[in-house]
């Protein structure tokens, strides 16, 4: 009976106080004691009820965030709720200035640090759609209009060019794509171009089928230890690097070939004074390897 009265008193307290302390007050009431002690607690509870409603309006609806979270078993609270905090405007401005300065310094450090990211302009191959082929121009006509690479301007070894090994494993497929445009760019200057448009002009820099044997061989790179095998297949240059599958090479000049179906990769052959291929440079996945011919 007395406990019920006490619980009722506690239930009538302001919500914040009740949520926070009612259980503890009831636990004190539940301790064994005499009737007189229980009555004193009832009187104390009544005074507390009056005091909380009459003298403590600031605690009536105290925000729940002020109540600490359930602590961990070791007595350390799981987290704390910070008071609402609003920094001064000057502090915000200072923070903004410092943040921008740090950001600019970081960008500057990245841009001008001693570690530079290798940035190369890799030759790019652009193929026009098959529908753009002029039906009046046959592959044989195209072949007859091929210009010598000397007209391309940047090629060391002039040679009559045939669009034979471009972009495909078989010469027939290459002829089907004779209308394509190959743009090989070294920096900003195109090295060679193969086009077939309404004018029928074809500009090609490539390697003759009969000369592909000059490039075939095994090239060895010692750091890292990589073996690059250059072979010919029906007049087309093929390449095999280590355990990678064999790839076709698409010559874009007498010394440079793109690797078919592998983006941003190329091979460049170096000749000595006698015109013999002595080494090659192989670029793939951002790495440049130099391999000597065995």
């Amino acid at each position: 009976m007395l406990r019920l009265l006490y619980r009722t008193q506690l239930a009538l307290h302001p919500p914040a106080f009740r949520k926070r302390f009612a259980d503890e007050m009831l636990s004190i009431f539940d301790r064994p004691g005499e009737w007189s002690a229980k009555l004193q607690l009832l009187a104390d509870g009544f005074l507390s009820l009056v005091r909380q409603w009459a003298l403590r309006p600031e605690f009536w609806y105290e925000h729940s965030s002020a109540i600490p979270t359930q602590p961990a078993s070791d007595g350390i609270p799981s987290f704390f709720v910070l008071d609402s905090f609003r920094p001064r405007p000057s502090a915000l401005i200072h923070g903004l200035v410092v943040s921008m300065a740090v950001f600019c310094l970081t960008c500057f450090a990245i841009r001008y640090s001693s570690i530079h990211i290798l940035h190369l302009h890799i030759p790019r191959v652009l193929w026009e759609e098959q529908s753009s082929i002029q039906p009046s121009v046959s592959p044989s006509e195209l072949r007859g209009k091929v210009e010598s690479p000397g007209k391309a301007g940047s090629l060391p070894t002039p040679a009559p060019a045939i669009p034979a090994a471009i972009s495909s494993h078989s010469p027939s497929a290459v002829q089907a794509k004779a209308s394509a445009t190959v743009l090989a760019m070294d920096g900003t200057k195109p090295q060679s171009q193969i086009t077939a448009g309404s004018s029928g002009l074809v500009t090609v820099t490539a390697i003759q089928q009969s000369q592909t044997q000059l490039y075939a061989g095994v090239y060895i790179c010692h750091s890292p230890d990589v073996t690059i095998a250059i072979t010919t297949d029906h007049g087309s240059l093929m390449m095999k690097v280590g355990g990678q599958p064999k790839r076709a090479l698409a010559p874009v000049s007498s010394t440079r070939c793109l690797i078919v179906d592998v983006e941003d990769s190329w091979i460049e052959f170096d000749r000595d004074n006698t015109g013999t291929i002595r080494r090659l440079r192989f670029f793939q996945d951002g790495r440049l390897l130099t391999a000597e011919r065995r």
């Binding site: 302390f21 007050m25 004190i28 539940d30 104390d44 509870g45 602590p71 609270p77």
Partner: protein, 122 residues
């Protein structure tokens, strides 16, 4: 900091006893009531209503920190409370203030201190 602490002074008797009882160890509400009774030789007894009303204020003033429940306690409803560093400072300041009051009272009332009551050897 001292200005902040002085703003809490003087403490009410209930607040002073509560802070003093928590100066030794973390205690739950009933433990505080018992400790207050022990400190005052039973002359000052806190009821739960007065105790938690003061605890509510002291927690809000960040003089006391609620530490939550303990699993090994016989009553899982009990929460423990701890004196904060600010609470320590406020209690120390209040003790110094009361010491000054007692010293002045002794001087005015000419009450000898315990050392003055000791008999002098010839």
């Amino acid at each position: 900091m001292s200005d902040d602490i002085s703003s809490f002074l003087p403490l009410s008797p209930a607040a002073l006893h509560i802070l003093l009882s928590l100066a030794g160890d973390d205690l739950h509400g009933y433990g505080i009531m018992q400790e207050v009774a022990r400190q005052s030789d039973g002359k000052y007894k806190l009821g739960p209503g007065t105790l938690y009303d003061n605890l509510q204020k002291l927690i809000r003033q960040r003089l006391v920190q609620e530490m939550g429940r303990r699993k090994d306690d016989e009553d899982p409803r009990r929460r423990y409370y701890r004196l904060t560093l600010v609470g320590h400072g406020v209690l120390a300041a209040e003790t110094r203030r009361l010491a000054g009051v007692v010293r002045e009272a002794r001087r005015r009332l000419q009450i000898p201190t315990s050392s003055e009551l000791k008999p002098r050897r010839a």
